[in-house]
Symmetry: C2
Subunit: 328 residues, 2 copies
Amino acid sequence: MELINIMSRITDILGIKYPIIQAPMSWVTSAELVAAVSNAGGMGTLGPNAGQNTIANGPDDSAERLRTEIRKTKELTNKPFGVNYFPPAVDAGENPYGEALLKVLVEEKVKVLVVVGEANEKDIKRLKEFGFTIVFRELHPTVLGAKKAERAGADIIVATGFDEGGSTPDIPVGTMTVVPMIVDAVNVPVMATGGISDKRGVNAAFALGAEGVYLGTRFIASVESPAHESAKQDIVKHGTEDLILLRTGYGGYWRATPHSTALEAQYLNDNQVNSTLSKIGNLKTAMLDGRLEEGINTVSSGIQFIREIKTCEDIVNELMADFISVNY
Amino acid sequence: MELINIMSRITDILGIKYPIIQAPMSWVTSAELVAAVSNAGGMGTLGPNAGQNTIANGPDDSAERLRTEIRKTKELTNKPFGVNYFPPAVDAGENPYGEALLKVLVEEKVKVLVVVGEANEKDIKRLKEFGFTIVFRELHPTVLGAKKAERAGADIIVATGFDEGGSTPDIPVGTMTVVPMIVDAVNVPVMATGGISDKRGVNAAFALGAEGVYLGTRFIASVESPAHESAKQDIVKHGTEDLILLRTGYGGYWRATPHSTALEAQYLNDNQVNSTLSKIGNLKTAMLDGRLEEGINTVSSGIQFIREIKTCEDIVNELMADFISVNY
């Protein structure tokens, strides 16, 4: 029915075979997951609390734990991988976590940072001065933010549609619209994210002008993911229509599977979520520890198309089946 | 960069060259618009109040006005075209408008009905008994509704993503997700709608498994559209980020351009919209009469990609540039 022959600048920029990034999700990434994705030809990324199952004791402990996980990843793969970084807004003063992590990233010679947050030009410029390749994802994507990030030196921009899981953009505009909107705004290559979890979504993203895809949820339900088995099965057995939306407390929504904490929280506003429900947002409880009723399992609308837990190699191969790799 | 060779069952079912339908929008369709789309190789459809600029005096007047517009359309094209029909729920008792319109549709030998509403099997079965080809669009699309419509005899199902304009599904799940969700649910062909207004959107829809596309907003901004010139220019000059969401009063949202009525109404809930703002929902004021501040101009998130008013022929040719027509 279709023949899609896809080219991408992203494989060249990142030095990888397939233009697919496993998103740096909080708590549910690890050296094993990241290496599995990178070994399959995509790029894995270590997210916040990668490989951990306890909360770090301050910035230095957090940074040293990251160092350990980076070293572990390097033992498991010789392919490129990325690390998540939330930059401190330079003008906002000190951020001890950001600075401690940055020191480790430089010392460990990490090459690619996935920077998620606001499009702060000073932050991005500063990171570029250290020599990092920057994949930038604005949390609430805008044309202005994409242009600012490009001007500051971002190498790749991630365009996030509302089909995404946790946490969504604040305004519900779908992946179908956001991707070409950002593609038109910048000259650097764009990766699509939001609701993509099978080959159809990948091919649609390319048709929209994206040159790569950035997936979280599909990789949670992988063999190598550190997510709790019950959280993985929770994804496999639920569909898009089962999901509920609850405010994050800082703009946007979590899309969550239907368990008691999420069901109770769906009618709360930002302030109520912030003040009374600290368990929402600590994704560890449900997603890593598997206590589904006590926390939230946050996933994209693309769970409809995830019906089986597979290895990262199988996932990457299936997603990129129509991609013709040229150089890697 | 890409070669997409698209096949579709929809061209055979409808007897048209390109699998593209101009949606039956309220007030802003007419014999001229519909014939222009059909003559360009797609299928135009007459929507509620097609060709009118005053409100009809009851069911019989409404039906006779439709008869006039159908005859006018036949004079302007010998290609297939459709007519919108909101069926009365059979169990809900009489609906004089529905019955009066149905009588005219049968007498005028209309072949294709675009049925928008809930997936009521009795309604669809009854219409099939009259011999109509049914394009069914569930207002708030669900897997269950799609299956019910197929079982009742619908020939084509339209999958509507939240990227759409007026009125949106009640739950914000994007076109990127809804299309493959419905494709997986049924065996009849699916058309995609929501945020599609350039070739990229069309090709993405096909990559997602759709076999056709169903567009409203792109055709409002056409030369042949009866929309007021200022409403057309309003689309051309605004982008997706300018749009605001306001409740319809019956579930879902209108996506509207930023003028005073819409700006004031964006914080109202369903009851407030229902009880105090009858001007919202009467799309005639802004869209047909051009009094943009007094009504709402409701459009899809795909307005970002509409930068010029063009003829329907140019629009259809551009959208379907990668479609290889086989038989028509």
